[in-house]
């Protein structure tokens, strides 16, 4: 108990002496958490949107002629050679005719004069619903169109592909801002603590001389790092939440945002981000402290 009393007393002294730089660090940490969390949130939502788009995504390979069972097996093997897929469905000429006439509904009599096999046979390929397979949908389509006996390949709209390039770019930004978060929190925290240490070198040296244990000297700084991580990341997440809420209110109703349902992080994700920030800040303060204690 008296250990924690001593730790809190020391931490209080540190804070009183160096609160301007502590405050700057806090700001930096929360800003970098905000930046990272912002991109991560957008990315997460893009993934959700991607999932929904992916549900409808399929490539239709039109064939020159009706494939026999052997040809079907060959095609299947060729398709699977490129990538695993969710489903491969063969549509014969009559199936296609059937479907088309169902789609026409009451107007189906326009087909009366047409031969039952006027529509080409085709293969429907449903790619796996993950980003990596979806993002190569163009490559996949190129591959399929080069298979022998195909006339042409159709898939969704062009913008699906662009959308996936965008998501990929976003994932890079998320990684970069994550790296920024790591750098700023570790370095800023270790920098402020080094400042504190330099400002109080005489005292810390004396503490060692009068028999303070390393824990006595180190724990207040560690606590400082922990608090900076906790408060900084909480502030960052809270301001992101505020921003999110504002955008939600501002753009409520019909509009581009209402097409996709935007959601905030799961509580688990929030806890994870905060926990990681705490660990990073603690690492920063610990590394500064170790350098000092070794001298």
């Amino acid at each position: 108990m008296s250990f924690w009393f001593a730790v809190l007393r020391q931490a209080g002294r540190n804070l009183r002496q160096t609160w301007p730089s502590q405050f700057m660090t806090l700001l930096t940490v929360s800003l970098s958490v905000l930046i990272f969390a912002f991109f991560f949130l957008v990315y997460n939502n893009m993934l959700n949107v991607g999932d929904k788009l992916g549900d409808d995504l399929r490539l239709i390979v039109y064939l020159e002629e009706e494939p026999g069972p052997e040809m079907q097996a060959q095609l299947k093997r060729k398709i699977l050679a490129f990538d695993e897929v969710d489903e491969i469905r063969f549509i014969s000429k009559t199936d296609a005719y059937q479907r088309f006439s169902e789609q026409l509904g009451e107007n189906r009599d326009v087909l009366d004069d047409m031969p039952q096999d006027f529509l080409p046979a085709s293969v429907e390929v449903v790619p796996l619903k993950n980003l990596s397979s979806l993002s190569q949908v163009k490559n996949f389509s190129d591959y399929l169109s080069k298979l022998p006996g195909t006339i042409k390949v159709q898939y969704g709209q062009d913008w699906i592909e662009r959308f996936y390039y965008f998501t990929r770019l976003l994932s890079i930004i998320v990684l970069l801002s994550g790296g920024l978060l790591i750098l700023t929190s570790v370095f800023m925290v270790s920098y402020t603590i080094r400042l504190t240490i330099l400002g109080r070198q005489a005292e810390l040296e004396l503490l060692k001389l009068v028999g303070a244990t390393n824990n006595y000297i180190r724990t207040p700084f560690l606590l400082e790092g922990l608090l900076q991580g906790l408060i900084g990341s909480t502030a960052g997440i809270l301001s992101l939440y505020g921003l999110f809420h504002w955008v939600e209110l501002k753009f409520a109703g019909p509009g581009i945002l209402s097409i996709f349902e935007f959601t905030f992080f799961h509580p688990q994700t929030v806890v994870t981000i905060i926990a990681i920030s705490i660990v990073l800040c603690a690492v920063g303060s610990y590394s500064s402290m170790q350098k000092f204690l070794r001298i």
Binding site: A202, L206, K208, V210, G211, N214
Partner: protein, 233 residues
């Protein structure tokens, strides 16, 4: 400090040499043992190596050669937590005081007790008590940077003895004091000694060892010579 009864050895130095770079021989082949509970005077003119010897005893400097044991432990082998615990039991009044000049007198004295997690009320009482004995009561809340050297010297001494250490090392404790205050300082040290602490006093002020019955040794050019054997054990 277990295993060191009335007649145990607190300090054991065997053939200790200390050479400062590049080539300053501060101590050469010093051998010395000090009994637990002894009061010991180390005299010598300025530059003789007194401060160096005390610094070796509290692990502020490492010897170039030889063995130093304090309370049965090779003090230069002890590391980390054990070194901290040993230092808590050694009170040192440094020649240059090493006070925190932006803190009050009371805070400075309290530090040595805080690091061994003494209760705040106990610290408060002890600090008040010590400052009274050293005629510093009115300076309780004064920042030490504003004190005279004589006052700073006594604050350093108060900090050294506050945690009731078993070994007290004092370096020139009376350098800046008048006769009356010197008397108070010696009374405090004698009191600590009477309650069991081993006390080592490095000084060149002959007024404080002139009438003593304790052992006196002199450092001359880094070598130790016996001046007078102690009268009482």
């Amino acid at each position: 400090m277990t295993g060191h009864g009335e007649n145990g050895t607190m300090i054991e130095m065997i053939k200790v040499t200390k050479t400062y770079p590049p080539d300053v021989k501060a101590l050469s082949d010093v051998s010395l043992s000090i009994t637990t509970g002894e009061m010991f005077f180390l005299i010598g003119m300025s530059g003789a190596g007194k401060t160096t010897l005390l610094k070796l005893l509290c692990n502020m400097e490492t010897p170039s050669n030889g063995l130093i044991e304090v309370a049965g432990k090779d003090i230069h082998r002890v590391k980390g937590r054990h070194l901290a615990r040993l230092r808590q039991k050694i009170g040192v009044a440094y020649q240059d005081f090493k006070l925190l000049t932006d803190r009050t007198v009371a805070e400075n004295v309290a530090i040595s007790m805080e690091v061994s997690y003494k209760k705040p009320q106990l610290i408060k009482k002890r600090v008040k008590d010590l400052l009274e004995q050293l005629a510093l009561s009115d300076k309780h809340n004064t920042v030490t940077g504003e004190l005279s050297r004589g006052e700073q010297q006594r604050v350093a001494l108060a900090r050294a003895v506050a945690n009731s250490p078993t070994l007290i090392l004092v370096d020139e404790p009376t350098g800046n004091l008048d006769a009356g205050t010197t008397e108070k300082v010696m009374q405090l040290l004698t009191k600590c000694n009477n309650s069991g602490a081993t006390v080592v006093i490095a000084t060149h002020d002959h007024s404080i060892y002139r009438n003593t019955h304790h052992r006196i040794m002199e450092l001359r050019y880094g070598k130790l010579h016996l001046v007078r054997e102690g009268m009482v054990s």
